[in-house]
């Protein structure tokens, strides 16, 4: 019996190797997410990772037929950790940008939510309109934003007249928004939508239009992978296309964001 398994598995490996040397190498993929960007990725009361990104990652691996382990990683160290091979992929709402592409590679985008400002109800901000940045629209304001994000870069590059407070997580920025220590915060509409409709977000709402100029925000969020792992990129792209095709992506989308289309074509 044992021998039979050995022979079969050896044959299977042989076939896999001859068919594509790559797929055999990816029996197990370690995926990193942040765990502090609800409802995309967060921790439940027991410290388990949950959220859209986590469900998406699991479904993606299931579809691709690879075993996945999902680990938490601070946002700051996301790219360095990938390069140091602590994990093989990033599924954490990381926008595909030119700057990041210098050090890592991305799959096709798997979600795309525009950016929006959140502040006290009644406030109104027009920072970006008709393809143009309104450089002095925020003058004198204190804006909270998560460090190392496209949103932080957008603020830094375009608004010399504001004070930018950078936080390790978006949760902390929102905490300081309710404490009144920042006037508004900029993040993607998916995570902010969940917050303004929660109890903590009472009295706060979207105070600007939604925008996503690709010069700063890239082309949506992709799965981050090391440049040399082109085979893994292919596996993920194929599985993603399949999920979009068979409706399992839609199911996840509706579960977390009934009102938002995460994957506009």
């Amino acid at each position: 019996m044992k021998n039979w398994i050995k022979v079969a598995s050896a044959a299977a490996v042989g076939i896999a190797l001859s068919a594509s040397a790559a797929s055999a190498a990816w029996d197990k993929v370690v995926v990193a997410t942040e765990g502090a960007y609800p409802p995309f990725n967060m921790m439940d009361d027991n410290g388990n990772l949950i959220g859209f990104d986590v469900d998406f990652a699991n479904k993606l691996c299931e579809t691709a037929n690879v075993e996945c382990e999902i680990v938490a990683q601070d946002w700051d160290g996301m790219i360095p950790g990938l390069l140091a091979k602590k994990y093989d992929a990033i599924i954490a709402q990381m926008s595909i940008t030119e700057e990041r592409k210098r050090s890592i590679d991305f799959s096709d985008y798997y979600s795309n939510t525009p950016a929006v400002f959140v502040g006290k109800d009644g406030m109104s901000i027009t920072a970006y309109k008709d393809g143009e940045v309104m450089e002095d629209a925020l003058d004198g304001m204190v804006i909270g934003v998560q460090r190392s994000t496209t949103h932080a870069n957008f603020l830094e590059d375009n608004f010399p007249g504001i004070e930018i407070r950078m936080y390790g997580t978006q949760d902390e920025a929102l905490l300081d928004l309710t404490a009144g220590r920042v006037d508004a915060t900029l993040a993607d509409s998916g995570t902010l939508d969940a917050w303004v409709s929660s109890e903590e977000g009472e009295g706060y709402g979207f105070v600007s239009n939604q925008f996503a100029p690709s010069e700063w925000f890239g082309e949506g969020a992709g799965i981050g992978i090391r440049k040399e792992d082109q085979d893994l990129k292919e596996i993920f792209n194929k599985a993603l296309a399949e999920m979009l095709e068979n409706g399992s992506y839609d199911e996840l989308n509706k579960k977390y964001f009934p009102a938002i289309d995460l994957h506009p074509n």
Partner: protein
């Protein structure tokens, strides 16, 4: 690798420079105010009356017994939120300062430094030889004059190495300020990593700056130590003989 260093240093030198200045500022103010606060704490701590030494004991116990990052978060998100919830505070003129993370950071560092230094000083004060105190009393010195002329100079002599160690500890502790949005040296390095995805280059640059600061501090401290021990150096042969004789 080498070009990446030049790229980081060339493009983001002002971030590092500003981070360096803020780090130095936090260090100097924390150590100065912390030391000033530590003196009365240490004096109260060595008091024989329980009700005088209870409060400094509790203060030192709490601040030495909990992690600094926890204190920082307690101060910034805890106390900060409480203050923010006071009615009308956000329209008051002091709000500009009360909302600023700078003051919460500084207060945490000052209190933390005070706790550590007070404990070091306590050790110093208690180790002043009894004979010297008796001599001071015999000369008719009041407690205050005894402290000023005998205890404090002796204390500084004894605690200096431990004290300078604590200053260097505080320098590294300031890096935690970046967790509450302060852009000191570590914050600047993190920002550069965020921009360039070049962690080694950014953190090694910041690390080298920290090393230079520590080296400069150590050099200065050595000079002061020599000054503090000037009397000892003169007397050394004599005390050596005395010891030999008594043994």
């Amino acid at each position: 690798m080498f070009e990446d260093f030049i790229y980081v240093l060339g493009k983001y030198d002002t971030w590092l420079w500003r981070g360096f200045l803020l780090t130095i500022e936090l260090l100097v103010i924390s150590v100065t105010l912390g030391t000033l606060l530590a003196i009365p704490l240490a004096v109260a701590r060595v008091s024989k009356k329980v009700w005088i030494q209870a409060l400094p004991f509790a203060f030192i116990y709490v601040f030495r017994g909990t992690p600094l990052i926890g204190q920082l978060f307690m101060m910034y998100y805890g106390v900060g939120q409480l203050i923010a919830n006071i009615d009308g505070i956000q329209d008051h003129w002091t709000w500009v300062y009360l909302r600023d993370p700078y003051w919460y950071c500084l207060l945490t560092f000052v209190l933390n430094t005070a706790a550590y230094v007070a404990e070091i000083m306590r050790g110093g004060i208690q180790n002043v030889p009894n004979g010297e105190l008796e001599a001071a009393r015999a000369c008719g010195m009041s407690p205050w004059i005894t402290y000023r002329r005998i205890i404090f100079p002796r204390m500084w002599q004894m605690i200096w190495p431990a004290y300078t160690n604590d200053v260097i500890f505080t320098l590294k502790a300031t890096s935690l300020a970046s967790t509450v949005t302060m852009m000191e040296l570590t914050g600047a390095a993190r920002k550069i990593v965020a921009r360039t995805a070049l962690p080694y280059e950014a953190f090694i640059s910041a690390g080298v700056i920290y090393l230079i600061i520590v080296y400069t501090l150590t050099f200065g401290f050595k000079g002061i130590e020599r000054y503090l021990r000037r009397s000892e150096q003169r007397k050394e042969p004599k005390t050596g003989k005395a010891k030999a004789a008594s043994a």
